[in-house]
Each structure stands twice: as structure tokens, then as C-alpha cells.
Subunit: 274 residues, 4 copies
């Protein structure tokens, strides 16, 4: 049994669209459309308990998961959705102990999620060029409790002469022009290591795929993932009227070894593949 205390993180949950992730602070109150709840009321309660607002609505006190953190982190920014994060993890086989590179730290949400899996012996090295974004991400990664497992560096991987990390299992790429960093990213990956790029447009997929073929990647796969919620109710079960639209396309590939001795053959193969 785990009891909520001062400074405990709590997800105040009313429904899917009304939920608040807070750190308990004795003197504060949560003010919402469904009423007010003084944090103090949560202290001493078990996670999973519920409170009643002054507007007579029930609110559950849930223990935040990584999902709750990353959804909160991304509030107001371009979201990497759970369905996409999930596919990245499952298709790349991200697991405990791996060394992951991230080009484009963004809000730090994907960074944090991946760190929560590879920790404590694995690590995430994340690179960005925008110091303002980096500061926001730093805070977010800290809130998610992942600072220890993440190294943030300001670096433009495209032009960098040095190789900041090597033998990585996977490189996550979230850039507008992902194809431009492929030659550099190759150097950071171990052989048979992989990349996963977040590509909002079809044109990005197209250019990236061409760059991957040219740079001797294999098992190249572009995909998109649609999630629908279902309203399951006795005698009237149906999909939700609310639809989820496009978020992003994804591109996966694994690094192969160049085979410099057989240039003619390689060319032939590339042609066939196209």
C-alpha cells in the first residue's frame, strides 16, 4: 500500500480529457471546471482513492505512469503520440540496457520514455541545436525522473567533425530534414544497429528512404499508425465519434556494412530494389 505524501506526484483523474498531473503541496489547491480540491485532502490517502470536489464530482488520485508524464510534458507542443512511441519500441525492440541516440530532443518526452526502459545500465544520448528547447527538455526529463539516464548535448550532428557516441543500438531522428544526417548517424551506430525517424510528410519519407538506400541501410520500412478508441457500453458498443487524425509517418531501417569490393553488384542490386 502506497500513501500519498507532501511532494508526491499525483494524477488527479476525472475523465480522459480532464486530468491533472501535480506534485502535492500542502497549501495549494487544484482549481478546475469540475470544482476545487485542496491538495491537503490527498495527503494520507492511498493511491487509487478518490476525493469529491466542491462541485460534488469524484476525482481519482492515481499514481502517475510514464505515459502520464510524457502526455503532460507535451502539453502545448507537437506531440509524439503513444501509438507512435509504442510502435518505435516494439519494432526496434528497445529493451533494458541499450544505448540510444536521439537527434532532435524536442520536448524530451520520447527521450524520457525510452530512458525509462533502458535504465539503469542503458543510456540515452540526445542532441539538439536550440538552447531554449534544450532547457525545456531538461526540465521535463527531470520531472519524469530520468535525468540520471540521459545525457543532453548541444551539437549539430550534420556538421560535427567528432563522433560523440559510438556503437549505439538505435538512433531516433526527429528533424525536418532527416536525410541530411544519415551519413553521420551511420558512424554512431553499431553494425546492424537501427534508426527510427519521425517524418510528418510523405516527402520526408521519400527523401529519407533514398538516403538510406544510398547509405547501405536495409530492412527499410515506412509505416503509419492509426488509433481509434471504442465506447464499450452494454448494448450500444461502437467506435468513438471523436477521431484521431494524422500525427506522423515513421521510417525504420537497419545499418548494413558497405561492401566496397563489389561496386558493380551493389549498383545492380540498388536498381532492382527501387
Amino acid at each position: 500500500m502506497e500513501t500519498i505524501k507532501q511532494k508526491s506526484p499525483v494524477l488527479f483523474y476525472y475523465n480522459q480529457s480532464k486530468k491533472w498531473l501535480v506534485t502535492i503541496s500542502k497549501k495549494e489547491s487544484l482549481h478546475t471546471h469540475i470544482g476545487v480540491i485542496p491538495h491537503a485532502e490527498a495527503i494520507g490517502k492511498e493511491y487509487g482513492s478518490r476525493l469529491v470536489t466542491n462541485k460534488d464530482k469524484y476525482v481519482y488520485l492515481l499514481k502517475p505512469t510514464t505515459y502520464d508524464y510524457i502526455m503532460k510534458i507535451q502539453h502545448g507542443t507537437q506531440i509524439v503520440y503513444p501509438k507512435d512511441i509504442g510502435y518505435i519500441i516494439a519494432r526496434a525492440g528497445i529493451q533494458n540496457g541499450q544505448k540510444i541516440i536521439e537527434i532532435g530532443t524536442g520536448s524530451g518526452a520520447l527521450t524520457s520514455f525510452v530512458a525509462s526502459i533502458v535504465k539503469p545500465r542503458g543510456h540515452v544520448y540526445t542532441f539538439d541545436v536550440d538552447e531554449n528547447f534544450m532547457k525545456v527538455a531538461e526540465k521535463n526529463i527531470k520531472k519524469a525522473g530520468m535525468s540520471k539516464y540521459v545525457t543532453q548535448t548541444k551539437l549539430d550532428i550534420k556538421t560535427s567533425k567528432k563522433i560523440p557516441v559510438s556503437d549505439a543500438d538505435l538512433a531516433l531522428i526527429d528533424l525536418g530534414d532527416p536525410w541530411t544526417v544519415i551519413p553521420q548517424v551511420r558512424k554512431l551506430l553499431k553494425s546492424s544497429g537501427a534508426i527510427f525517424a519521425i517524418c510528418p510528410t510523405m516527402n520526408q519519407l521519400e527523401k529519407l528512404t533514398m538516403a538510406l538506400v544510398e547509405n547501405e541501410f536495409t530492412d527499410i520500412e515506412s509505416s503509419e499508425h492509426l488509433s481509434r478508441t471504442i465506447d464499450a457500453r452494454e448494448g450500444k458498443t461502437r467506435h468513438s465519434f471523436q477521431g484521431i487524425g494524422h500525427t506522423t509517418y515513421l521510417c525504420y531501417a537497419r545499418k548494413a556494412i558497405f561492401d566496397r569490393e563489389k561496386p558493380t553488384r551493389k549498383k545492380t542490386k540498388t536498381k532492382k530494389r527501387a
Copy 2:
């Protein structure tokens, strides 16, 4: 640089539908429609290298990921697809160190994937009633290298008097009648812990949701996930003609604390929710 040796696991990769996961054995050969490759040729090569079959086709020697293992494990059985596994991980926030329960071991694929994330300090406790399935799963979990992080028990959770595990973070349920085990599963979960059920039919979602409401779960969400691959090629990018159909619906929920002192109110709330 990692070199392939006798007994190394290797994914011989030709394309998405022609790939073979093998353990290197000096005297064996891989016989396929695209030609023959003696395992011996792979020995001493770096992962990511490629070989040529006697039919002059290139085959890449990739280092298997958890994805490769679970897809292989599931060959010929009812598959839990990466898109669904991924959503389960992302939505439930499965992370390193957690204690996971699984009701219905199946092929051991989901078991292995989840173990690869929660290990080494986390653990998966998996229960089934069919000894034949359990033996197959045991082998598969071993192949994936996850035996140390998984405890398999023959147990019918529905009728079991004892509580084999307690304070679990998450219960994965893969049964034909998932609603029947909810009262028991509650006891295995920590407060605010979650369930994720694999429900191939809408009727299962409906019955399960009713059981979850009755047993005081909250944050209940039913969903389905569609994945489409995209053929990204210069000047002619489009979705693949090959479609993926229905696999399964998923149901997630988190355990709340019963609030026995306020029966009237509770009733009111439940009604509104419906």
C-alpha cells in the same frame, strides 16, 4: 564491432517477407527459395554484412532484436502484433523495474517482450492452465533469453484461493472471457495499478468494461490500432497495396480503491458514467 561466431543468433534478411532467424551451426546450411547459404560463411563476419546465395541474391546478416524473436516465436500461432504490443507498453507506461502479471501465457511472445523491458530487477509472473502451451512458451522465452526474468506457473486464476503475487504494476490478460478474472486480478494489483486485456471481439470489450466498472476500475479505455506500411519511392510514394486487417481490440483500466462508506454516491456516479 561484433563478429558472428558458432552459436551466434543471426537474422538472415532478404526482405520483409523473406527472413530467417537461426543459430549459427558450422555444419548446417540455410535452404530457401532464393538459394542456399552455408552457415559457415557467416562465421567471422561482422553483423550487418551480407552474403550471396548460390542463386546470386544478397542476404544480410542482422543481429536479432526482441522484435525478431517475438515474430519468430509466433510463427504459426495467433500473433500479438508489434503495433498492439507497442501501444500496451506506451499506454501503460511499462518501464524498467516493474512487476508484471500475465494471465494467459500464450506463445510467450508478449511475456518475452515485456521481460526485456522490466529486467533485470523487474519480473514477469505468467499464469496458464494448458501444460502443452506452457511448454512451448517456456522454450520460446528461453530462446529470447528471458527465462531468468519470467516465472511461469500453472494456475487457474479464476478459481485459485491463494494470491500468487501481490502489488503488481500491471496485469496483462489474454483470455477468451477476461471479465471473469477481474475480481481476482484486483487482488494481485497494487492500488492504481493497471490491466491491459487483449479482446478480439467487441462483445468481450463490452462485458469486460461492465466488469471493470463494477469492480471499481477507472481510466477505462478501449481502443484499436491500425498499421499501414508505405512504399516510399522516388516520385511514386503511396501506401502499400497489402493491407493489415483486424488483429485485436485492447482494453486498459486502472484499479481504484472501493469507497464502501458512500454507497449511494457511488451508485449515482456509476450511472452517470454509463
Copy 3:
């Protein structure tokens, strides 16, 4: 060349979400968020021309199509979407000259669309029990110019003793409990004639399908249809972020002849089919 006159119908089109279907009336003006346009300015212009609002925005003067009428008609009611109407037409093979029955007139949108196809020699017979709805539908059908090809009758088909129409090619059913009218609807259809039911829930599909099997229908097919728009733009083409959620499921079937002489066989077949 067709010129806009007093009383001409015009679709003032700004973009997909800002468009207004009006009948030109010399003294009126269109007041919108993007500015004001006096109808008088449209008079004498060719369809397809554009005007400028007092806020300096271009608005096109399009000639309304059946699509424009039915979208307008349905404003504020439960919409039958073009993707669903389209599938109904294509799958049932609705064509010029047919006799169509509609059980549940609704807003008259589907009625009007179907009438626009079967006219002038075909006809739509539509039945409803709610006089208020019927009046609204009557107006809408008139606006769409289809009154001549539609006969509206107040009738509860479930309990009606008489058969108001016979030898229909197709019966469209838009009721909460479509399975209850199947025995009656059989009598209105010609042999090998078809039904198409609009079923917002899975439970409706399930009950309806059972009723169809029992009442000797064949070629039974339940389906759902998802439409996504694509933002096609140079170098950044992608699906729209805005998603369309669930609208309705559809159920199609064709009437077969009962074969009373072979009861045993029939039973066997029905079992196999389930």
C-alpha cells in the same frame, strides 16, 4: 454559360469549413466572419466567378450540387456522410429508374440523393412515424428539387397490415431497431432485391444479421468506411491532422426465396453459415 439571377441557388464558397448555400434575394446580404457580401453583387455573374467581401476575402459563387444540398440539409442533425451514402449507392448498384423504399426518412438527405439518381422514372417511397421530422424532411426534399420523385407516408412499417409498395429494388433502413422490420420489409422487396441498413452500433449489426439469416437473406455484408483528407502541398504532402471519427456501420443483404420444402437442409446450411 450559366448566369446567376434573382432566386438562383448559389454556394458561396470560401473554404471547406466556410461555405454557405443560399437562394439569391436582391435585397439580402450574406454576413460572415470573413465579411459581408450583398446578394445583388452575384446577380449577372457566371457561376464559378468570385466576389470580394468587405474584409477583402475572395468568395466563389458555385452552382450547388446534390452534395451541397444534402450537407446543408443535414446541418445540425445526425449526418449521413457522403462516404457512407456513396458506398450504399455503389454496393447496391443504385441506378436510374429504380424503385427505392426508405424506412426512417430522417432529414430527407439520403432520400434526396437517391431520388436524384433514380429520377425521373424511378421513385423513392419513404416512411416515418414522426410527423415533426416528416415536415422538416418534406421541406428539405423540396429544397433539393426532388419532391416530384419522392412519396412521403406516415406509417409504422412494423405493425402495418397493408403492403404500401411492392417489388422494390432496395430498402434503405435507418431505425434504432432495424431487425424488427425485416419480415415486413421482405414483402416490399422484389426477389433478389436488397436492403441497406444504417447501424451506428455493433450490437445493431449483430442483431440485424441474425434477423437477416433467419429471414432468408443472402450476400449479407457488414462494413464500415473511413475517409481521410490529405493536404497536398509542394514538398510537404501529408494526411490532414483533422481526423474523421466513427459515423456508422452499414449492413447490406439480398432477399432470397424461402425454400419451404426442404426444412432439414435449410437448417444445416444456416448452421454452417454461423
Copy 4:
């Protein structure tokens, strides 16, 4: 009651994937995996009746719909699917009496379907450059009974100096490079008339949309349509495992009038739109 005779068209229906569209010919038999049926047995039966094959399987004798004809016509060729045909009809508001142009006749399936709606006073003018295809299409249009309402012409619209048709309501375009014919197609359309193009790739959508903007079309909309079947069965209703993949994207637009007097403004607007 309609009785099957010598030369009657009949759809022998066993299930969704086993059905045969034939013209009854006294001396012939239908040979299938589910057994043999002499055509003679169908003669004198009512449509909707069923027969038993020599392998003891029931086969229904259905009266073919336009859907059945166009699916048959397209056997073995690149299909225009009912979901796409349906959306074209619904979005463009195709109705009885219209004048339709088709650039690229293909198998004649879309041609026939559209003719079945616009007939008897409306007409379809279809153009192609490949005489072999044209002959096949001619046969198919005849089989569907639509020859009277379709005019087939060998013509390369791109380079043609003369305008073979004018004031068309709609132009259907099924070409690899649809953007090349837009300036010519403009001339065939009435003002406020529309185009619908079948575009299998995203790149086609992109180029076509640019051409449409440049040629002063409005209400431009690209879309794609996904259809899923549902297996509705008592207590185990779910989507079908069999999925339908990508077929084509669609692009719709309406012809606006060039406004030559205001070149500066037009330019500004076009920019904003992009």
C-alpha cells in the same frame, strides 16, 4: 415476380469470394470448386431462388446489379473499388441527366456505373488513346447494358486542338499524369463544373493540386477511403481479419472563372492558399 430464362443474366452466389456472373445458356454448365450446376436448372426459377450443386452446396440465383457487373468487368485488371466509385458519386453529386467526361476509359467499369446513373438523358463521353483497351472497354460497357449512353472516342486530350465536348458537369480523370490535361479539361467543363482524378500516388496528388491552383480551380480536396468488413455474429462480432489495403487516392476540384482583371490580387491569394 421475375423468372429466369434462356439468356437471362444471373449471379450464381455462394459467398463473397465465390460468385459467378453468367448469361444463361441452356446447354452449358457452371463448373466450380463447390460443384457443378447445369444452367438449365436455373431456367424457370425466380430470381433469389437457390439450387444445389452436385457437391451438395447451395448456390443462390441473384439478379445482377451494376455492382456485380463492374466487379466482373474488372476481374484481372486494376480495380476501381466501390468505396472509391461511391465517394466520387456522392462528393461530386453525380445525378440523373448529367453530362460526364472521362479521360482514360480503362476497363469501362467506372464508365458503366456512371452511365447507369445519368441515363437516359444524361451521357458519358469517354476518351482513351489505346485501341486495345478501348475494345475491351467497349465489350464491357455493352455487357453492362450501357452502350447507348456512352460515346467512346480515341483521342489524346493533351494534344487535341479541338474541343470534343463542352459544358460537361464533371470530368473523371484516370491517367498517370493527370496534371498535364488540366488546361484542356477546363475547356470541356461548364463553369463551376468539377473534376475527379484517380491518383494512386501521393506525388500525383501533389502535382495535380499545383496544376489545379494554377488553373483556377477551387474547392480542391484530396482524400482516401478505407473500407473494412465486419463479421457480425452472435456474441463474437469483430472486424474481419482480412484487410483491404491501399487502392487509390482521389482528388476533387471545381472550376472557377479566371479573373484576368485583377492579376495582383490573384497572385496574393494563391500564395496564401499554398
